[in-house]
Subunit: 353 residues, 2 copies
């Protein structure tokens, strides 16, 4: 168990790192954030910062020397940086898990091997393999780069009238997967924490709405039968156990004809779990800090029905309106420029307003 | 209205400053903490710190230049420092209010002039005046220095067998007041926020238990009739309006035969309001930040019945037990040495466990 007053190293300086640091502070822990960008919003709330590139071995070395345990706020931390650090201090969750989830193909293979359903998919390495896969899987489908995709980046839809060659060029002719397009009824996610002793605590199944591939709104509880919610938890537990995972993670799923198809695993705190800050007795951020510190997890209690609304780009201009809205809890991330698609803050609505 | 990304200056680096800074961070605001002690626990969670004496004019000047608005976490900020700063940037709440509440006599006179009941009291400037006052007020009574008293410091009980001269020496023969000892049924407090436009939002009346003059436990709602709880709110509103107060404050009161006697005003966030972090839709810390930033206040909603337990001195060693306790939300302040009487953290118990 990490002692109170210890220092947690966080790779990445965005809002997830910021909210992790705020949760650590509640527990008497210090944070040191490592991030390449000088205007990282997590820098404002921590004891120490390192602003350096992930390839800067000297900076990584000094960072490792200053902290007691290292975690990350996003899944695209370069594998080299993670393993360099892991040779110096505990990096949790294990960088080997990062390596799997950074690659959409190995992630899907991992899930499928556990007997968990996903959309039909195939590995793509050339235009030929893409044409074969379309034949096998059918249309519509989505072509996605294997690596570095998030919020809709690195993906192209393929319909009856799409030229496969154009789609292949569209993603830069990189190693990819093609997935059958799922006409889902709902998108849901489970956010859960797994402790070093293997104990798992799940937050309630959350229903998500995306707009332009970016999460716009979550509501909890998800409007699905109890049996399906329990199945979602069982899937999350199976995945976490197979990884030997420690910390918080999210599993995004589609609901289709009373079945669940796993879409993606996020090996980190997740936007669809932001409601837990105001809406539960323990937040996803605190559960993650507890897990990586080797502390016991809390059993979350939810404060009724809730919604979470992201403030994306110019929507941050509604902040004053949200300050006046009954039952609304406003979070702003302290970012300067409200660029389109940039997550600037979020609102939790208590009591299902 | 202060813009998001602005910097709030906080005088004082203890746990109240720390929790104010964490609340400001949720709202996208930066904090700069000014405190004399290098191991101030608020330093760990803010953008910038100044470690200097309150008499250091150069440091105060640089601090004022870096921030947009200034507030304080405790009422014993030297009046000179507050007025020096007030000539440079807005200091909220108004330092004139500090001057009144820093002096027990002027505080009691202020309350009495509003027609609000207190214990009987008298001004003491010599052994003679003390002996007269005991005659008038009766025993038991409490002799308290007019200035710099908190958590039971600077006060002496006077009973039938107490030598008044010894009591007078006991508080260092300083200007003082003597108060009739109130055999109260309960101690309660109202924590409330007043906005720049005069609007007031009160948190629910809280019942407090002290041990060795230090708050040990709070519970909410207080076990008093509704009419008394409403009267407590009316008293808080009257005091705040008379001060033209902006920010969060607390009024401590005694309950005696279905009457309320005001004991003390704290012109700041207050230990008996810590339950609001986990137990309400908005915390006292966020309300204070909203008020001093000129933002609208939120209407607090409480998550059921609650208790707050302070972890004082060695009680912080129970932290691991509290981590495992169902419905317990643990807060540690990141202080190194658990000295006797030192507030090290607190626990909020949800659902009245």
């Amino acid at each position: 168990m990490l002692e109170s007053g210890s220092t947690i190293g966080i790779l990445g300086g965005g809002q997830l790192g910021r909210m992790l640091a705020l949760a650590a502070a509640r527990l008497g822990l210090r944070c040191h954030v490592f991030a390449p960008s000088p205007d990282s919003c997590a820098f404002d709330v921590v004891h120490r910062v390192t602003c350096a590139d992930y390839a800067d071995a000297g900076a990584l070395d000094r960072f490792a020397a200053d902290v007691d345990v290292i975690t990350y706020e996003f899944e695209n931390v370069p594998a080299e940086a993670a393993s360099f650090l892991a040779s110096r201090k505990p990096v949790i969750p294990d960088p080997d898990i990062l390596a799997i989830t950074q690659d959409r193909l190995s992630e899907k293979d991992f899930i499928a091997k556990l007997g968990i359903q996903t959309a039909r998919y195939a590995s793509i390495s050339s235009l030929d393999t893409l044409e074969c896969a379309i034949e096998a899987i059918g249309l519509p489908a989505v072509l996605k780069t294997r690596r570095f995709g998030y919020d809709g980046k690195g993906q192209v839809s393929i319909r009856e009238d799409t030229d496969p060659a154009a789609a292949w060029r569209g993603i830069g002719q990189q190693p990819a997967i093609v997935e059958s397009f799922v006409l889902f009824e709902r998108e849901v996610s489970i956010v859960a924490a797994r402790a070093q002793n293997g104990r798992i605590e799940c937050f309630d199944l959350t229903e998500n709405e995306h707009r332009d591939h970016i999460l716009a709104r979550s509501r909890v509880p998800a409007r699905v039968p109890d049996a399906l919610a329990r199945e979602a938890q069982a899937i999350a537990e199976k995945i976490a156990a197979a990884f030997g995972y420690v910390g918080v993670f999210a599993v995004e799923m589609f609901v289709l004809s009373q079945k669940l198809l796993v879409n993606e695993i996020a090996p980190r705190v997740h936007n669809s779990g932001h409601w837990t800050i105001d809406g539960a007795s323990v937040s996803q951020f605190e559960q993650h800090i507890r897990a990586i510190a080797g502390w016991p997890l809390a059993k979350p209690r939810r404060h009724g029905a809730l919604e979470m609304i992201n403030l994306i780009g110019d929507e941050v201009k509604d902040a004053e309106r949200w300050l006046r809205h009954p039952g609304a809890c406003l979070h702003l991330y302290g970012k300067s420029a409200p660029r389109p698609g940039r997550k600037m803050g979020h609102v939790t609505l208590l009591g299902g307003d």
